[in-house]
């Protein structure tokens, strides 16, 4: 069994650090990571509390496969009530932190209470201390990591923490680990900041138990089945840009269009092709702990580019544009300058912000600027026009620091657009900005956004194949509901979702979970039921938090303004036709509330 059967519970109000056994009954029902973390949060906390209050808890949860030799086993999830959404937040990250936490002997880290002064957590196996963070508060993620790495002198120590954005409660502040991997969405970093917790430094030498030599060999055999990784290693997720742009589902200029004329300056070809200076954006690919795919983009900004010309600290290689970042900091803002978008991405990693929500918020502000709802007197002199790459970079830094008009951008587009009198211009669901797919040409994605428990998200369902096949809505509710369960299961395993596009099927996830957990996990029925149980529990959390059917919706633009070009030209999202069917498939009533029969079937009290 690959569980450590050990939880570290830290109460920042009391200054206590305690160990307790993992609840194995819950692990049997909710697997791990996203599912199990959500179960703990649901049981221990009133979902109605304010996300930034002392009562909110923040959980760092690994899965049973985290830290094992299974490919992509570096994943962990940050579970809390989201500062951006007020809904359950479960933000998944890779890098090397998750594996290190597991290897230090912990399945889960539960943080509760609030410190009265800035602190960080230092974990070396069973030695745990809450340390004064006075000298690192106010520092960036990168500076913090460098200072503590030098202090402890251990190159294998891993960090997950916040930058200034989390300290200043930017609503979409994220938790960054390993300098450029992030539990990105829903404002989990703002929750960490509200607890005065700067970072978690962890070093583990305990290791993650494997059942036997046979299990070890079997896992390696399954790893070898992932035989279609080449495209992902070479182009990363950025390969999607050409697909959505060609199809006509790349949200552009705050979803005014679904095709971006500058996409060919942000796509894999642009990333791999030397510019007139001879500079190539991509340096190499990068991989998380134990990953045999390596989809990460490690990139450099042209040192002659205006964004970094006199700033050598930004001229090195770091986490570059993935598809979502290139969309949010590129197409969404009408910016086609790959160096500028890369710079804004670096700023997100450095200050600890979700690039999707930052880009979405800037795009909304650009539309407010365009229609005259705000002007240069509001923005502090910044010409926040669509396509203005310099404005994008300037405002990104201000948002990271919470300064000037950046403090408004840091509210997220929902609060921003409400403040300036145009709530309809916020491209959000449950307050969270859209990912890089338009819900008109991809009707299934529209439904997936509207029903995602953590607000608009492209990684809570898998409607891609169906959506690229047809814009007809028949069958979409089924595809979305079924895939939400599968994704919930996969997210809870401790593995990444991307192997599923690189040669693995869901059955490989089941087999791997079965190898490292007790009981029979190698059945489709258990996978589906576990995923459905997790999905329903998240839904119940949201209902208790005050969210309901009124929140399972989309912005007016997606429901009423037809897509301008491409495969979905002339279409709006037919959410009202899909939603009742979706509720029925889930065994929910007409208001989207799970029925007692459904909860009984899933064993939820």
């Amino acid at each position: 069994m690959a569980w450590q059967q050990n939880i570290l519970r830290v109460n920042l109000s009391k200054g206590s650090c305690d160990f307790e056994p993992l609840n194995m009954d819950w692990a049997n029902a909710y697997l791990g990571s996203r599912g199990l973390g959500s179960k703990y949060l649901y049981e221990e906390m009133d979902p109605a509390v304010d996300a930034l209050s002392t009562e909110n808890k923040i959980i760092f949860a690994t899965g049973p496969l985290t830290g094992t030799m299974a490919s992509t086993s570096g994943r962990y999830t940050v579970v809390t009530k989201g500062a951006l959404t007020g809904a359950i937040a479960c933000s998944n990250s890779g890098g090397k932190f998750g594996g290190e936490l597991k290897n230090a002997g912990y399945d889960m880290l539960i943080i509760e209470g609030k410190s009265d002064k800035p602190v960080y957590l230092h974990i070396e196996d069973d030695k745990v201390e809450i340390c004064d963070a006075g000298d690192i508060w106010g520092k960036t993620v990168w500076e913090t990591e460098d200072i503590l790495a030098a202090k402890y002198g251990d190159p294998l120590m891993r960090f997950a923490g916040i930058g200034q954005a989390g300290e200043t409660r930017c609503r979409y502040a994220c938790v960054v680990n390993d300098k450029h991997r992030a539990a990105g969405r829903s404002g989990v970093g703002a929750v960490m900041g509200s607890k005065n917790l700067k970072t978690i430094a962890v070093r583990g030498t305990v290791g993650t138990p494997a059942a036997s030599k046979e299990v070890y060999h079997k896992i390696n055999e399954i790893n070898a089945r992932m035989n279609d990784r080449e495209g992902m290693a070479r182009d990363g997720t950025l390969a999607m840009m050409d697909v959505t742009n060609g199809f006509g589902s790349l949200p552009t200029r705050n979803n005014r269009s679904v095709r971006f004329e500058g996409a060919n300056k942000l796509n894999p070809e642009a990333m791999h092709t030397p510019n007139p200076d001879g500079h190539t954006n991509i340096v190499t690919n990068g991989a998380c702990f134990g990953c045999t795919i390596g989809c990460g983009r490690i990139c450099k900004i042209d040192p002659n580019h205006w964004s970094v010309k006199d700033r050598p600290e930004y001229q090195g290689a770091s986490g570059g544009l993935e598809y979502e970042t290139a969309y949010a900091l590129g197409a969404a803002c009408g910016v086609d300058d790959i160096d500028a978008a890369t710079f804004a991405g670096f700023i997100c990693n450095e200050y600890g912000m979700d690039p999707i929500s930052l880009g979405g918020s800037i795009a909304a502000a650009m539309e407010l600027f365009d229609i005259g709802a705000i002007d240069e007197s509001t923005t502090g002199g910044i010409k926040l026009e669509f396509g203005n790459a310099e404005a994008l970079c300037q405002i990104s830094e201000l948002a990271g620091k919470g300064e000037g008009f950046g403090a408004d951008i840091a509210m997220g587009s929902k609060r921003l657009c409400e403040k300036y009198g145009h709530p309809d211009l916020s491209m959000t669901v449950k307050g969270q900005e859209f990912a890089a797919y338009d819900g008109r040409s991809m009707q299934g994605m529209g439904l997936a956004y509207a029903t995602s428990n953590r607000g608009a998200c492209h990684l809570r369902a898998d409607p891609y194949e169906h959506d690229f096949d047809t814009t007809e809505i028949a069958g979409k509710a089924q595809v979305v509901a079924e895939s939400q369960r599968l994704v919930a299961f996969m997210d809870s395993s401790g593995l990444c979702l991307f192997p599923a596009g690189c040669g693995w099927g869901t059955e490989d996830y089941c087999e791997l979970v079965d190898l490292v957990c007790e009981g029979d996990w190698n059945t489709e029925a258990r996978m589906v039921e576990t995923g459905e149980r997790i999905w329903n529990l998240e839904k119940l959390f949201n209902l208790k938090a005050g969210l309901g059917k009124k929140d399972d919706t989309l912005p007016k633009r997606i429901l009423e303004e037809p897509a301008d070009v491409g495969t979905g030209k002339g279409l709006v999202c037919r959410l009202d036709e899909m939603l009742p069917e979706y509720y029925a498939i889930n065994g929910w009533d007409a208001e989207g509330v799970p029925t007692r029969d459904t909860l009984n079937r899933l064993g939820i009290d």
């Binding site: 050409d242 990912a435 890089a436 797919y437 990684l459 891609y464 194949e465």
Partner: protein
């Protein structure tokens, strides 16, 4: 006549030798169908893709019906999941 064809994502792997980053020219007779053009592109039959012709997606049951014109632009997109 030479038709411009762009292969995205993993399909790039199947570009004929001498192609640019992701583009090639495929020579077909005037009046050829889209199906005839696609047959000349060396993507193995087990690799699915969708076809965009002049910015619009074409359903597979239309491949035989459509005649290719000299200035047409054909794009092949692989099935891909989100990220």
């Amino acid at each position: 006549m030479d038709i411009s064809v762009t292969l995205f994502g993993g399909l790039r792997h199947y570009l004929p030798a001498g192609s640019s980053f992701n583009k090639c020219k495929i020579d077909v007779d005037e009046g050829s169908s889209l199906a005839a053009l696609l047959q000349k592109i060396p993507v193995p039959p087990d690799k699915p893709y969708m076809v965009i012709l002049n910015d619009e997606k074409v359903a597979s049951d239309q491949f035989d019906e459509i005649n290719i014109q000299a200035d047409d632009e054909v794009v092949l997109l692989p099935p891909i999941k989100g990220g």
